[in-house]
Amino acid sequence: MPASPGGGARAGNTLRSALTALRRVLGMPDYRAYVAHLHAAHPERPVPTERAFYDEYVRARYADGPTRCC
């Protein structure tokens, strides 16, 4: 258990970045990162729902060519 709120937040951050890394390794979408990117780079664009983003991500990922080798 975290000794202080600061430690808890740090542990939460570590877990979050570990999960982000795992998502990237497995080729999963990362909605949070995408929204952060939109806010930073294109604040004028509408933010898609998580489901719409997911649909578009997997559609594009498996349409592009072989994503995995034999």
Binding site: V58, G65, P66, R68, C69, C70
Partner: protein, 679 residues
């Protein structure tokens, strides 16, 4: 000389000692530790020196140059990613059934020839190919291999590359499906577990899209839990007198189910089946490979297989053909794999944060894949040679019973008893392990052997089925993803002839093109299932030849990139591997078509079959079908060779024109943009 070189000299010396030990110990078993030590020392030295030479001198990677991930960052597929995470991503994408199955099959020559090729092939050829394609694609905004072939060499080459990729995919899917059929035939435990992966994946699909959108890791963990339940449940199904018969399927029946599965999976939306199953199988793949590495290091099993067997003369029962060229065709993915060029010019180049990261990801990722192949070789070599050949030789050679199999194998000079084979099959929860050609079952027996020694003796049957599940899971994912990619390529081609065909969401076109792709690989699958020589004997070499052909295309593109950017003096880094690959591929192709041995040459086999029909020993209708298949396989091998030669001529012509300054090379690299990242 700086002192920092000393540890490297020590490492090189350790590697040399390990190689010497492996080479000089004949007729007595040695520990797998020597193989691991020799491989790892070679990898580290090659990575430190050769890949650095490639990165600094040949490619001149420049961290001041912004990568596509930085310039085109869209938060989705172009995202600057930390290099170890991307290493994991890239490795997960290139590792698959190939590096596991190929070495197991090539173990019929003994463990030594295959291991030498896996280790030296990768550091001099395979890793160079992956690295240069990743580099070239990274400098071209993440362009695919096909696009680069078209831009750098010409439209004909681009077109040929696309057709070759489609053809390779068809053969690959057929041979992988055959591996699954041979592993699951007559195995209710295996069939039940694998069948369960479909509803599990669909549940995961709904979970992460509808029930809890975006909770992909949560859904994958649930899926993993259910998968392990299915694995345990399989034992119960296999012992149930009512359920076991329902899940006991013949080869042709399994082939039919796989084709139906491939079709449905290609037509359904990606989120429903393909994406969740991809996550599940990638997770399993990385986990199991790590587990295998830990198991091998903990156990350091003695290698029972001889270093070199008598079958280097070409008389081997698993597949026909001499050590050269067939060792180098059979072990495709573990040493050099053309398919990797598709991945290295796919998602990975769009995620690289800094140019210098490409060295770890491109070269290092492939070295890691080679290590997986060495582990697969170890897992095969821990088997008793008699057991190895009982599992891998075709039924026609072994005869139908354990007694006949033991007699045949004793004739080859290996001791094995029917009781031993029976006890082994029983210990892994199977009726029989005879003639399960294709690599997966013998790898699973080897893995179960290692795991049960490392983590608990009583669980051998569970470990065996875990290993089968692990292999079948990602092979089916490849089947599913490959059918879909084939469908898109076909729709793309069809769209040139008739517009609506090209619409990827128009159902008539989706159904027609999916059916065509499934029919194409399904034809070869059924041919393999019914093949009297066991199917793997004809299909695996065809796959190996086609995969190495794609590697030749990739190396041609790489060489062209080097020559065009004024680095012709370094072109030997790709020309050397290219020359070797051409020698291997063309010799193997020629022998598969024209060799006089009916087990080796397609045409000789057709003639032998015709003679059997004339002699009245073979049903004419069946015989006619075998003859047609032999000729078809010969035509395909010839087509692959022809494509290789045409490509080579086109490239050499282009190189000669540029080198003779009769043609000015057009730079295709994206222009230099200074990075915004600090230091």
């Amino acid at each position: 000389m700086p002192l920092t070189i000393l540890p490297w000299l020590a490492l090189a010396a350790a590697g040399a000692v390990a190689w010497g030990t492996i080479a000089l110990h004949r007729g007595e078993t040695i520990s797998a530790a020597w193989l691991i030590l020799a491989a790892v020392a070679t990898y580290l030295v090659a990575y430190r020196f050769y890949s650095r030479f490639l990165a600094d001198r040949v490619f001149q990677l420049n961290d001041r140059r912004a990568t596509p991930a930085e310039r085109l960052d869209n938060g989705r597929d172009f995202v600057p990613t930390s290099r170890w995470v991307l290493f994991g991503h890239h490795f997960a994408a290139i590792a698959g059934a190939g590096p596991l199955v190929g070495p197991v099959l090539a173990a019929q020559f003994g463990y030594l020839p295959g291991t030498i090729w896996i280790v030296f092939g990768v550091v001099l050829a395979g890793a160079v190919q992956d690295f240069i394609i990743l580099f070239a694609s990274m400098r071209r905004d993440g362009k695919s291999l096909g696009q680069m072939a078209r831009d750098e060499i010409g439209p004909l080459t681009g077109m040929l590359t696309m057709v070759a990729i489609l053809a390779i995919m068809i053969i690959l899917l057929a041979v992988l499906a055959l591996v699954v059929v041979n592993a699951l035939r007559g195995s209710p435990w295996g069939v039940f577990t694998i069948a369960c992966t479909i509803p599990i994946a669909i549940l995961m699909g709904f979970w992460m899209r509808v029930i809890r959108p975006g909770r992909t890791i949560e859904a994958t963990l649930i899926g993993l839990g259910l998968l392990l339940l299915a694995l345990v449940g399989g034992r119960w199904v296999a012992t149930s007198p009512t359920l076991a018969p329902a899940f006991t399927l013949s080869g042709p029946a399994l082939a039919g189910w796989l084709m139906a599965y491939g079709f449905v999976a290609s037509v359904l939306p990606v989120w429903m089946l393909l994406a969740p199953r991809d996550y599940l199988s990638t997770f399993m793949k990385i986990g199991t490979i790590l587990l295998l590495a830990v198991g091998i290091v903990l156990v350091l099993p003695p290698l029972q297989l001889p270093a070199v067997t008598r079958f280097v003369d070409g008389s081997g029962p698993v597949f026909a053909g001499k050590l050269f060229p067939f060792c180098f065709i059979t072990i495709a993915c573990g040493a050099i794999s053309g398919f990797h060029a598709l991945v290295a010019s796919g998602t990975t180049p769009k995620l690289i944060r800094r140019e210098s990261d490409a060295r770890l990801i491109g070269y290092g990722g492939m070295v890691m894949e080679s290590f997986v192949a060495v582990m697969a070789m170890c897992a095969a070599a821990v088997l008793d040679p008699g057991v190895y050949f009982a599992i891998n030789a075709p039924l026609a050679t072994l005869g139908g019973s354990l007694e006949s199999a033991a007699t045949v194998i004793r004739g080859w000079g290996f001791t094995v008893t029917p009781e031993q084979l029976q006890a082994l099959a029983h210990s892994v929860g199977e009726e029989t392990l005879l003639a399960r050609t294709g690599g997966a079952p013998s790898l699973a027996v080897g893995m179960a052997h290692i795991f049960s020694r490392a983590f608990g003796e009583s669980l051998t049957a569970l470990w065996y089925h875990f290993a089968i599940l692990f292999e079948a899971l990602f092979i089916l994912t490849t089947l599913d993803a490959g059918t879909r990619v084939g469908r898109f390529m076909l729709q793309d081609l069809g769209g040139h002839m008739w517009k609506p065909m090209g619409r990827t969401s128009w159902y008539p076109s989706v159904i027609l093109s999916s059916a065509l792709v499934v029919a194409a690989w399904g034809y070869f699958l059924v041919q393999g299932v019914l093949d009297p020589l066991g199917g793997i004997n004809s299909l695996w070499p065809l796959f190996g030849i086609s995969n190495q052909l794609l590697a030749a295309v990739a190396l041609c593109v790489g060489t062209t990139v080097l020559i065009k950017s004024g680095k012709a003096r370094y072109a030997w880094v790709t020309l050397g591997p290219l020359a070797w690959l051409l020698a291997v591929t063309l010799t193997a192709g020629w022998q598969k078509i024209f060799a006089d041995d009916p087990r080796l040459g397609f045409l000789a086999h057709a003639r032998a079959t015709a003679a059997q029909i004339v002699a009245g020993t073979l049903d004419p209708a069946r015989g006619a079908r075998f003859i047609f298949n032999d000729r078809l396989d010969a035509v395909i091998a010839a087509a692959f060779m022809l494509v290789t030669v045409v490509l080579l001529v086109a490239c050499v012509r282009e190189w000669a024109l540029i080198l003779a300054r009769r043609k000015t090379p057009v730079p295709r690299e994206s222009p230099f943009v200074e990075t915004a990242y600090a230091g």
